[in-house]
């Protein structure tokens, strides 16, 4: 049986864990509640750059020693930065828990040495270049900026080569000091470990971390700018189109319904967009996903296709969304979507990394522990009426649209050419 534990240290650092006696490994993570939406324009990209710098060494370890020490325990480790979270995670065998905490806790108090900072700048700029060469990614990034406009969720996660070049080590240090305080960090473990051992290790290594004020500004809901933009890229072969519309927040009771709705609309098999665009061969790919944030949420619909097909496909998407908005999906489609979600949830939960992610996110966004069964039941309970409520509050056709590719102009459905 999986068992949940939690503890708040005196300095505000939160520890949560779910032990699973049948697991062979454990997944461990430090969730820092800071992301691109917590940046000001002059430090654009600092959160993600800092995530890289965390691995570049401490008082006790050089950058190369950090890498070496992780590899000595065979840990499968990495980190990611999103709009709202920076997460450092590792999957490892249970006997290496003490070393893993020693390394992770150590690197989360980084030296941010000037020479490492300048070296890693080059890597970040390479990473930006890599994404820039993938039009699907570039379109996503631009679409998000277009949708959110001046809302802080529109901030770029990577920043630009210019903003990264202009960034100073001391600006990053100031950001680190302010955002990496103990109360802004949650330690999450799942799988094969002993709770008391985890607590003792975290207390020993992180008990003296500084407390400080937390929170973030600008968490109001947004429904997007509603703009329609075409970005011309002569060297791109296909047109990459993203349509974004509003949805419920990460704390909303409607989030399970929103997930189910997005799957029925845009999953890669048996969905509305599959039958209307992929099955007849009108696109290379098409999909729809629901992203939940603090204070707001959004549905992302995307497709890529031959440029000649774009306007026709946009009309098809608008018609499909309108039909769903007016008539809802069918009971059969609802059950189909639920079957897929429940099966995927069961399979994800069989691996410690899947549980680590799910209990971590539930704690951060809903301030509660959610067992696998809690989530299974929540999806099981979704009805067509819940979907109806989602669409009443967040009409599907309230769209902001971005197209990136060889076309210089694209006609918006039902509008004159722009």
């Amino acid at each position: 049986m999986m068992q949940f534990h939690s503890l708040l240290l005196d300095n505000g650092l939160q520890i949560i864990g779910e032990t699973n006696p049948s697991a062979r490994s454990l997944a461990l993570a430090f969730f820092v509640r800071t992301g691109s939406r917590d940046e000001t324009p002059e430090v654009s990209g600092v959160t993600h750059f800092l995530e890289h710098m965390i691995f570049k060494g401490t008082e006790r370890r050089t950058a190369l020693e950090v890498n070496r020490d992780f590899d000595r325990i065979g840990a499968d480790y990495n980190a990611f930065t999103s709009e709202e979270n920076t997460v450092f995670h590792a999957v490892l065998l249970p006997e290496y828990l003490p070393q893993a905490i020693d390394i992770l806790a150590d690197i989360l108090r980084p030296s941010l040495r000037e020479e490492d900072f300048e070296m890693e700048k080059k890597v970040i700029i390479e990473e930006i270049g890599m994404y820039e060469d993938q039009p699907g990614w570039a379109a996503y990034d631009h679409a998000k900026q277009l949708y959110f406009g001046s809302h802080l969720l529109g901030n770029s996660i990577l920043g630009t080569p210019e903003s990264i070049r202009a960034l100073k080590r001391d600006q990053m240090y100031e950001y680190f000091e302010r955002r990496y305080v103990a109360p802004n960090i949650t330690v999450v473990a799942a799988g094969a470990f002993v709770w008391e051992d985890l607590v003792q290790l975290v207390r020993k290594h992180c008990g003296n971390w500084r407390a400080g004020p937390i929170g973030r500004g600008g968490v109001e809901e947004t429904r997007g700018t509603g703009k329609f933009q075409v970005l011309h890229r002569a060297n791109v072969a296909q047109e990459h189109v993203i349509l974004i519309g509003p949805g419920p927040t990460a704390a909303s009771p409607l989030r399970h319904a929103a997930d189910t709705l997005s799957l029925a609309i845009g999953d890669d098999s048996g969905s509305r967009l599959y039958w209307s665009l992929v099955d007849p061969g009108l696109v290379e790919s098409a999909g729809c996903g629901f992203h939940e944030y603090e204070g707001t949420g959004a549905f992302y619909t995307s497709f890529s296709c031959d440029p000649e097909q774009v306007e026709e496909n946009l009309v098809v998407i608008h018609e499909e969304l309108q039909k769903v908005q007016e008539e809802n999906i069918t009971e059969q489609e609802l059950n189909q979507a639920k079957s897929k979600i429940l099966s995927a949830l069961v399979r994800r939960s069989e691996r410690p990394a899947g549980r680590m992610n799910d209990i971590g996110m539930a704690w951060i966004y809903q301030h509660q522990y959610r067992s696998v069964d809690d989530d299974l039941n929540a999806f099981e309970a979704v009805t067509l009426d819940h979907l109806r409520q989602v669409m009443e509050q967040y009409p599907l056709l309230q769209l902001t649209t971005l197209a990136l590719g060889p076309l210089e102009e694209v006609q918006a459905p039902g509008m004159s050419r722009r």
Partner: protein
């Protein structure tokens, strides 16, 4: 580790069934390998395998395309149909209790597909857009071209085929290809998860026992391509891909080859990551990997980097490849061993990974390696054994493909 429960049976018609019972999970995954990979695409119809893999789920048995899709979805099946070099792969994963019903549907898909005439054109259109989309994926593009040049044709062919090949297809041509290649000789079905062997075997015998077909003739291989080639494209980053020969998975020196690749790449303290990214900041992505066929294998390496620094990146990568045979530290090999052992254990938590490994082992080795066997082989790795492998198979004589505004030169 709990005892592994692995089963195998080859039916009289040539189909092999493999299974692993995993009691701690609720799910199960399966993997059908059909010897219909893109190496079997006829030269005039390259891309036929991909088109067939898309067409084959558009109606089968008593169900039309929509009914079949709905039946699969209602089982909560996460699935994919993909075309690799040698095989067409049908992968699926869901709750273990839905596996029997899933296999009933796959018996229809594999044995009684409709391959409807009116779906041929839409599927062709998808395949053509897939080819077009490749132009927007420079990394994939360079790796595809590398395999194309490095292996004797048709081994290095890409599943997407060619525009002419895809356009040439008719329902009759696809139908003939299906009948020739969808048969039990050399086909493998593996299942891993919370399943029981006896009922599984009985069901598979009922569904596939009377399936018939002829074994395929051996492949005729052509000449390998150019040693050095360049694709001109205006991009932010130059893509660098290279390959050299290694030993296949059944060879005595296989684990030593794996050890060598893991000293070079795969973790952040490995040599390529350390020298190219950490010490010089030349790129975000750099790696080397091992790729095997039954009778040959390669070590492939890749980096993507700003055009101005591409030559330096290539120079450093080549220097690291050469430096490997000049000595490996005990410490480096210890880290490789811990990493390999950890991932071996973590693999036991994934039904998909297990199903994949069972089928792969059977195809390459005609047997399934036990956990203990692999662990012992990893344990036996040492600097001396890796050096010995490198003495026999030095990292040299590379095939190099680059993509970007300007070609690069291999350092002397």
């Amino acid at each position: 580790m709990p005892q592994q429960l692995i089963y195998q049976h080859t039916f009289a018609n040539g189909l092999t069934l493999l299974a692993e019972e995993m009691d701690d999970v609720r799910s199960a995954a399966f993997n059908f390998l059909i010897p219909a990979g893109c190496v079997y695409d006829p030269p005039a119809h390259r891309g036929i395998g991909s088109v067939l893999s898309e067409l084959i789920t558009r109606g089968a048995g008593s169900r039309d395309s929509r009914e079949l899709s709905l039946a699969l979805d209602n089982l909560g099946l996460d699935r994919s149909e993909s075309v690799a070099s040698l095989h067409m792969r049908f992968w699926g994963a869901t709750l273990a209790r839905n596996i029997p019903a899933s296999l009933e549907l796959y018996a229809d898909i594999l044995r009684h597909p409709h391959l409807p005439e009116d779906e041929v054109e839409p599927v062709q259109a998808l395949a053509l857009q897939d080819l077009q989309g490749l132009e927007d994926e420079p990394r994939q593009k360079v790796l595809i071209e590398l395999r194309n040049q490095h292996y004797p044709p048709p081994l290095g062919f890409d599943r997407r085929g060619t525009e002419e090949g895809v356009r040439s297809l008719t329902r009759d041509i696809i139908h003939r290809h299906y009948h020739r290649h969808f048969q039990p000789q050399g086909a493998i079905l593996s299942v891993a998860g919370n399943i029981k062997w006896d009922p599984l075997r009985a069901q598979v015998e009922r569904l596939f026992g009377d399936w018939k077909g002829e074994p395929l003739p051996p492949l005729q291989l052509g000449q390998t391509g150019q040693k050095v080639s360049h694709l001109v494209k205006e991009v932010e980053q130059t893509q660098i891909a290279m390959a050299c020969a290694s030993v296949p998975i059944g060879a005595p020196e296989y684990y030593a080859a794996l050890g060598a690749v893991n000293v070079l790449s795969g973790t952040s303290s490995s040599r390529l990551f350390t020298e190219v990214r950490e010490k010089r900041g030349l790129c975000y992505s750099v790696w080397a990997t091992y790729q095997t066929f039954k009778d040959r294998a390669s070590i492939l390496a890749y980096a993507g980097t700003t055009n101005e620094r591409a030559q330096e990146t290539l120079d450093v990568m080549m220097a690291e490849m050469r430096r490997l045979s000049q000595g490996i530290e005990e410490e480096e090999v210890e880290r490789v061993k811990v990493g390999l052992k950890s991932s071996l254990i973590m693999q036991q938590e994934s039904t998909s990974a297990r199903a994949g490994t069972l089928a792969g082992d059977w195809y390459y080795l005609n047997r399934v390696r036990s956990f203990d066997e692999i662990q012992a082989a990893i344990e036996s790795l040492s600097p001396a054994r890796i050096q010995q492998y490198l003495a026999h198979h030095p990292l040299q004589d590379f095939t190099l493909v680059t993509l970007g505004p300007k070609p690069l030169t291999i350092p002397a």
